[in-house]
């Protein structure tokens, strides 16, 4: 048992966005509870879930905000983007309209989060191959053009090959963690969506203190 095995060293905030009914809540539920909700009511508000994962041996607590997709709530849900380290942008591969709206979701995300926010595009309900309305190729192209990470996933087909739910959440975390390692993501920025919690006192502290005192001077 190394020091502080119970603790996590980081908290990452995620938001899940996308049109109503694309399966945002199901994806969250699948990720946190490993269960599929066959008839999930519309989210009227912002649901909250957490799970602790491990990336490169570091324990990370994901704090996930699942937003209401209904258009009428759009103005309100915009206040939840701020401070997100990861944004999972979901569409439904069986409903083209949800794909068509992606650019507007993307605009919101870009405007309301910071440049280091990792945006992951998820084409959900890929278990419904027969009803497919958006091809993998075009979505993949869209993702590439906009610098997004992308998978097709299914919140229903749990455990099967290609459910990709875990992947989406974990890959996002890996990318964020990488940004921290590279120094692209400034942990001290209030809106980075990441909090660092060194579990060993006295080790990581020094640099944090120095940073903090710099901050103090600035204001």
């Amino acid at each position: 048992m190394s020091a502080g095995p119970y603790n996590y060293s980081y908290i990452f905030k995620y938001i899940i966005i996308g049109d109503m009914g694309v399966g945002k809540s199901c994806l969250l539920h699948q990720f946190t509870e490993k269960k599929f909700m066959a008839d999930c009511p519309h989210t009227i508000g912002v649901e909250f879930g957490t799970r602790i994962i491990e990336v490169s041996g570091q324990k990370i607590k994901l704090q996930i905000w699942d937003t209401a997709g209904q258009e009428r709530f759009r103005a309100v849900t915009r206040s939840y983007y701020r401070g997100a380290a990861g944004a999972l942008m979901v569409y439904d591969i069986t409903r083209r309209s949800t794909y068509n709206h992606l650019s507007s979701w993307l605009t919101d995300t870009r405007n309301l989060t910071n440049p280091s926010t990792v945006i992951f595009l998820i084409g959900n309900k890929c278990d419904l191959e027969g009803q497919r309305d958006v091809t993998y190729e075009e979505a993949s192209k869209f993702a590439e053009e906009n610098g997004l990470m992308f998978v097709e996933a299914s919140a229903r087909q749990m455990g099967n090959r290609g459910d990709n739910v875990e992947e989406a959440f974990l890959e996002t975390a890996k990318k964020i963690y990488q940004s921290i390692q590279d120094g692209r993501l400034d942990l001290n920025a209030a809106e980075s969506g990441v909090q660092h919690k060194p579990s060993q006192p006295g080790r990581n502290n020094l640099s944090a203190d120095q940073q903090a005192s710099k901050d103090n001077c600035a204001c």
């Binding site: 908290i11 946190t32 508000g45 602790i52 206040s79 919690k197």
Partner: protein, 787 residues
């Protein structure tokens, strides 16, 4: 003295009643036992009526700038149980650990060494002294203890700049459960599943070497048994009796003896030193068969000197090869026959004062404890020759009855729950050097079993308990005991699996312990909303989660309040216990002209989700909230107009039909004719004038009017030139009516300066701006004009 922080002290003080005085604070403190390590805590020493308490506050920033940055985390009364201490940090010169112990908790904080810390610590110590003189009463703390679990309760919503900041709190990890203690507890419960009982042979030896240098191999002692033990715990006493050794606690002898120990261990196995503790001529060494060495964890030791110069000293160390730590204690208690009470006391002191740094638990809390040493208990009530005779006759039982340790133990004075095996060997003290002959010197001390080995704990089986007569260099004979002890060994694979499962379960708990509520409706719809006719709807918030839910309606980004001004939410925040519900009333009151009301309210759960509640309803159009200009364009009651007609009137697109609104004319006419029984109509007129969409004197002229108030000409000019025609009409119309009214002031008792005039003025003329001051100006205009 602490002027540096006076500003912060003031902010912290605001958190308390004025009679509760913040005596001293310490900023930038980090809590060590917390999951996180940020230094945003503040320690505050607070006094109330000569009683003191230490408060731990969490600050939202490094240096709080307002009271809402602070919330109280812990309250510790400074009472008889309170103590504080410091401990250095290995890797740090600049910080120390500040340890606070109270009846219920032990807290450790990391603080920076400096003036601030020393001032603060001395204040705390002083307050402790004060509290000793007059027994403190801590009723005043109750109110704070009540708020502790509900973090941030005091932070007023109005001071939150926007919602994300409120939500940030969640990000700060305020979850309902303490992961760490939960996991420890769960692991403990599951221990049998990942540990396995294994039998270890343990060789415990003790020898008072009487200051002699090692000169013979220790094998006859340490290798007495056929097969090699798994672990040795070897204690020596009186390694060096020289003055230097006492004074400097340092002697080359220790190393020499240790070398002999290492060489003297069983040749059939390889051993490694696990720990070596030394104190003034005593040492305790623990060696383990090197095949087990990698599994030894958390070794720590401590030494405790008890009183008189060197003669008594003790130490101990704990190791946990396994989950439950074991300890062995080597001690050398006070000498001399009559000192048995002193020895009892030494024993108590050792127990009380021993403190393992790594794993701070008391000796008695170890799973298995081996107590060895020169305990120095003698044989009482028998002369030296009697003892010698009994020994020679091998009547040890009679002697053992006279043994002080047995007697004291029986009376419960010492080593109460320790077991000692049957002693089948003759007393180990005192022999002439290099012989097996009891002391023949002048002093002729009576022989005694000074050297003993006892144990405490489950699963310990003593195989051998013996002395080693052929070790002759000291006046004591070494004693040893071979134990077979059950030690629960962690199966790393099983442990890993269970640990991971638990972590997963805890993650689930994290979600399960999130506050959860449901609301019976998320759409609140009103019937047609009419001017100043309040309507109330209720929603029921039910706590369906496992923890108390604190809810609060919070404002959306870029909004100034959590709801529009036509709505009141009662209560807008509160706390609901699991299984309980709370009714929240939404009361709508329409006082402006709106076609419909619509808003999405954000119901926020502290530490949890947000819910959106949509409030909507259509509004009835009303002459009260319409514009003067629009009303002058209609000649029928407003309700009778078609949408189109009303739209045109509102946009000033239809023709002006009256010079003042029909409604005003009707009301004034009524007042004029039926003076006396007019209360209701008069009030309506006042209401009407105060709710018109735009005031009679337009907003933009308010300041000019006030500036001109003292000058009749200026006032006149404003009214004639700047006020729009229809508004001027209304103004003059009202003024003339008032003038008319004042003519009869003798009859009706109204004076131009009395209430009705003022109200009319204030309502019609100027509104929405700090009423008292500006209306005074406006009424002056009016009175000048009307006189």
């Amino acid at each position: 003295m602490l002027a540096v922080h006076q500003d912060v002290i003031n902010i912290v003080q605001a958190k308390f009643l004025s009679a509760e005085i913040v005596k001293s604070i310490h900023l930038n403190v980090s809590a060590l036992d917390e999951t996180y390590n940020d230094d945003n805590r503040i320690l505050a020493l607070v006094e109330y009526n000569k009683t003191f308490a230490l408060f731990v506050l969490i600050s939202a920033r490094k240096k709080p700038i307002s009271i809402s940055d602070l919330c109280i985390e812990t309250v510790i009364p400074i009472d008889e149980y309170f103590s504080c201490d410091t401990e250095p940090i290995e890797e740090s010169q600049s910080h120390i650990i500040f340890i606070i112990t109270s009846k219920k908790i032990k807290l450790q904080f990391k603080i920076e060494i400096g003036i601030e810390s020393s001032n603060f610590a001395s204040e705390v110590i002083r307050s402790k002294e004060v509290s000793l003189y007059n027994p403190p009463v801590f009723v005043w703390l109750d109110k704070y203890i009540g708020t502790m679990s509900q973090l941030n309760r005091n932070s007023d919503l109005g001071e939150q700049s926007d919602t994300p900041i409120i939500r940030q709190r969640i990000t700060q990890g305020t979850t309902a459960i303490n992961r760490e203690s939960m996991l420890k507890y769960q692991l403990k419960l599951k221990e049998p599943e990942f540990t396995e009982k294994q039998e270890f042979t343990i060789f415990v030896g003790t020898w008072n070497v009487n200051g002699q240098p090692p000169s013979v191999s220790l094998r006859p002692w340490l290798c007495y048994d056929e097969s090699p033990p798994d672990l040795y715990a070897i204690g020596f006493q009186e390694i060096d009796l020289s003055k230097e050794a006492f004074l400097f606690n340092d002697t080359p002898r220790e190393a020499e003896w240790q070398k002999y120990v290492m060489e003297g261990m069983h040749p059939k196995a390889k051993y490694r030193l696990v720990a070596l503790a030394r104190l003034v001529g005593m040492q305790l060494a623990v060696m383990i068969n090197s095949q087990h060495y990698p599994y030894v964890k958390n070794v720590s030791y401590d030494t405790v000197g008890t009183g008189l110069l060197g003669k008594m000293a003790v130490w101990q160390f704990g190791w946990s090869y396994i989950t439950p730590p074991s300890a062995s204690v080597n001690c050398h208690l006070a000498a001399h026959v009559e000192e048995f009470e002193r020895r009892n006391q030494d024993y108590k002191d050792i127990n009380a004062r021993m403190n393992f740094k790594r794993n701070p638990i008391a000796i008695k809390d170890h799973e298995q404890v081996y107590w060895l040493g020169d305990l120095n208990y003698r044989i009482t009530d028998l002369t030296t020759s009697q003892v010698k005779t009994l020994v020679a006759r091998k009547e040890l039982n009679k002697l053992l009855k006279a043994d002080q340790l047995n007697q004291q133990k029986e009376r419960g004075n010492v080593l109460l729950d320790y077991t000692e095996g049957d002693i089948k060997f003759q007393p180990t003290y005192k022999y002439d050097l290099n012989t097996d002959i009891f002391d023949t010197s002048e002093k002729a001390r009576p022989p005694a079993w000074t050297d003993r080995i006892l144990w405490r704990g489950k699963g310990i089986y003593q195989v051998e308990y013996r002395s080693h007569m052929d070790m002759r260099i000291s006046d004591h004979k070494p004693v040893s005991s071979l134990f077979k002890s059950e030690i629960s060994v962690v199966d790393p694979l099983k442990f890993r699996k269970i640990h991971e499962d638990l972590l997963k379960k805890m993650d689930k708990y994290e979600n399960e312990y999130l506050p959860q509520v449901t609301v019976d409706q998320t759409e609140v719809k009103y019937d047609l909303v009419k001017f100043r006719e309040p309507q109330t709807r209720e929603i029921i918030i039910a706590n369906t989660g496992m923890v108390p839910a604190e809810f609060e309606f919070i404002k959306k980004l870029d909004e100034t309040s959590y709801c529009k001004d036509w709505l009141r939410i009662i209560p807008y925040c509160g706390s609901i216990n699991p299984g309980e519900t709370c009714e929240v009333k939404f009361e709508v009151t329409l006082e402006t002209s709106l076609q419909n009301i619509y808003d999405i309210l954000v119901l926020h759960l502290k530490g949890g989700k947000d819910m959106f509640i949509t409030v909507s309803g259509d509004c009835q159009r009303s002459c009260f909230t319409s514009s003067i200009a629009a009303l002058c364009r209609i000649n029928v009651p407003i309700m009778q107009l078609s949408e189109e007609e009303w739209r045109l009137a509102e946009n000033n697109e239809s023709g002006v039909l009256y010079s003042v609104p029909r409604e005003i004319w009707l009301m004034v006419d009524h007042l004029y004719r039926y003076a006396g029984t007019v209360q209701a109509v008069a009030e309506s007129l006042l209401l009407f004038l105060s709710y018109t969409k735009d005031p009679v004197i337009p907003f933009e002229l308010h300041d000019t009017c006030i500036a001109a108030a003292s000058n009749f000409q200026n006032c006149r000019q404003i009214i004639l030139q700047r006020v729009p025609d229809l508004h001027r009409n209304v103004f003059l119309y009202i003024c003339m009516f008032l003038q008319e009214l004042s003519k009869y002031s003798n009859d009706n008792g109204y004076d131009a300066r009395t209430l009705p005039l003022y109200s009319v003025t204030s309502c019609s003329g100027i509104r929405y701006v700090t009423r008292s001051r500006k209306t005074a100006g406006a009424s002056r205009i009016l009175s000048i004009i009307s006189s």
